[in-house]
Amino acid sequence: MAHAAQLLIVADDNADMRWLVRAALRDRFAEIIEAEDGRRLFWELVKCTKTRSASEVVVVTDIRMPVYSGLDVLAIYDELDFRPPTVVITSFPSKEVTAAVDRAGARLLAKPFATSELRKAVDACRQ
């Protein structure tokens, strides 16, 4: 598959959830990095700004995570001037969450989702 994005960053505080996303998407990416909290996700993004263009990275992130939440990280895309295609996965898509995700131009996927939905969302945001 000839996709521009080569790197997937999966951020979720649940290790099994990260494994699941990785397993579902491993055919689609050359490299997959896991982040167990928002801080790790933030630093991985900072590293990417130096080595890749935003279109070469896809982020799949949870919202409720230790240190920084997924929404905290979305809010600093502008500061970093680095806006990778992003899928936000959350168990509780409240109005505030939906609004914040829309503002950041990301996609929202409510847990529990089917693997096929995740694949569809990731493929859609890479185009």
Binding site: D12, D13, N14, D16, M17, W19, L20, A23, A24, D62, R64, M65, P66, V67, S69, I89, T90, S91, F92, S94, A110, K111, P112, F113, A114, T115, S116
Partner: protein, 366 residues
């Protein structure tokens, strides 16, 4: 102003005494005036003018006109030289007095209706607030359940979808994931059931000092690891209550663990028991007392009202489900007891548990 069950207004003893005292002073003053002027001014000053003023304030023009006429007649009557007024003046005067008392009755009735109406409005608002509060708790509960169960559920459903395409060496891993996440959901459900569970099982005689000792013994290792010093000050006289020791231990452990987590750089947790008196619905009662005090970061005053709400937590994601204190609250409530909290940010937090003493608990549940 409180309204009794029949809708009548209850006037407090203090207001009644004050009215009587004012009335007595006014009567005395008017009597002196009567004596000095030699005319009968009592009726005019004590009834006609105040009622006229009240009808004016209440917006009743007819009532006001009647009051003015009655006042003038009464004054003419009182101040006229003749001790025997003309029949028409006397008649008009008596009619005026009658009308004045009708106006007074009207005023009192209007005032009462106003009070009852205000009281009903107040009750309605309180009921609305209660309802909003209930909805709020249900909303928080639903959001909490969704947050806690959403991810494990997703892992289980996702694992089922991935199984057919998984490599053989991944199957044991997927099986373990399904097991782990299922037991996580089971834990959440068990905690929720604890929250709403029924009381009464395994109730025995519990000595509060002993309860403190056994609970802290279980947590000494955890405390030492966090550089927290635990001090137990048992009261000299044993305090006995009736309750479920395992549940009470769960409450105390919760408070101690919260205390340890509130002191990231170490500190002291002081526990003591005793007896205290509190006022409740029907007079003073003695309660068994358990106090857990830490020297930790404290709780912001804006968070204090919420700490016993289910799923409210200030801990990091994953560190707490926000059910500990709400379950503790429910356990103590089942025991006929209560829990109070005082906290100063940066200084520490004190939880005070009140439990009915053995004798009183038996009187309530023989």
């Amino acid at each position: 102003m409180p309204v009794d069950s029949n809708g009548g207004v209850q006037i407090s003893a203090r207001a009644t005494a004050l009215t009587l005292a004012l009335g007595a002073v006014a009567t005395f003053f008017v009597a002196v005036c009567d004596r000095v002027t030699g005319a009968d001014l009592t009726f005019t000053l004590l009834y006609a003018i105040p009622i006229g003023w009240c009808t004016w304030r209440a917006g009743s023009r007819v009532g006001f006109m009647v009051a003015v006429l009655a006042t003038s007649c009464s004054l003419v009557n009182a101040l006229s030289e003749s001790s025997r007024p003309h029949l028409s003046v006397a008649l008009w005067n008596e009619l005026g007095i009658l009308a004045l008392f009708v106006a007074l009755a009207y005023l009192v009735d209007r005032y009462r209706a106003l009070m009852v109406h205000e009281q009903r409005e107040k009750e309605k608002i309180v009921e609305q607030l209660r309802h909003a509060d209930r909805l709020n708790v249900i909303g928080t509960l639903a959001a909490g359940v969704a947050h806690e169960i959403g991810t494990p559920l997703n892992v289980i459903s996702g694992s089922a979808e991935l199984l057919p395409e998984a490599r053989a060496d991944e199957v044991p891993q997927i099986a373990r994931m399904i097991g782990d996440q299922t037991s996580r959901i089971a834990t959440i459900i068990r905690q929720l059931l604890d929250f709403g569970r029924r009381a009464g099982a395994n109730v025995t005689r519990v000595e509060l000092g002993e309860l403190l000792e056994t609970t802290t013994n279980l947590l000494l290792a955890t405390a030492r690891k966090a550089a927290v010093h635990i001090v137990v000050e048992r009261s000299q006289d044993s305090v006995f209550i009736r309750g479920n020791p395992a549940e009470l231990q769960q409450v105390l452990s919760n408070l101690i663990i919260n205390g340890i987590q509130a002191m990231p750089s170490g500190g002291t947790i002081t526990l003591h028991d005793g007896v205290t008196e509190r006022l409740n619905g029907n007079g003073k009662h003695s309660f068994g007392l358990l106090v857990v005090e830490d020297t930790g970061v404290g709780i912001a005053s804006s968070d204090l009202p919420k700490i016993f709400d289910p799923f409210f937590t200030t801990k990091d994601v994953g560190a707490g489900t926000g059910l500990g204190l709400s379950v503790s609250y429910a356990i103590l409530h089942d025991h006929g007891g209560s829990i109070e909290v005082e906290s100063v940010v940066g200084r520490g937090t004190r939880f005070t548990i009140l439990l009915p003493l053995e004798a009183e608990a038996e009187a309530r549940h023989p």
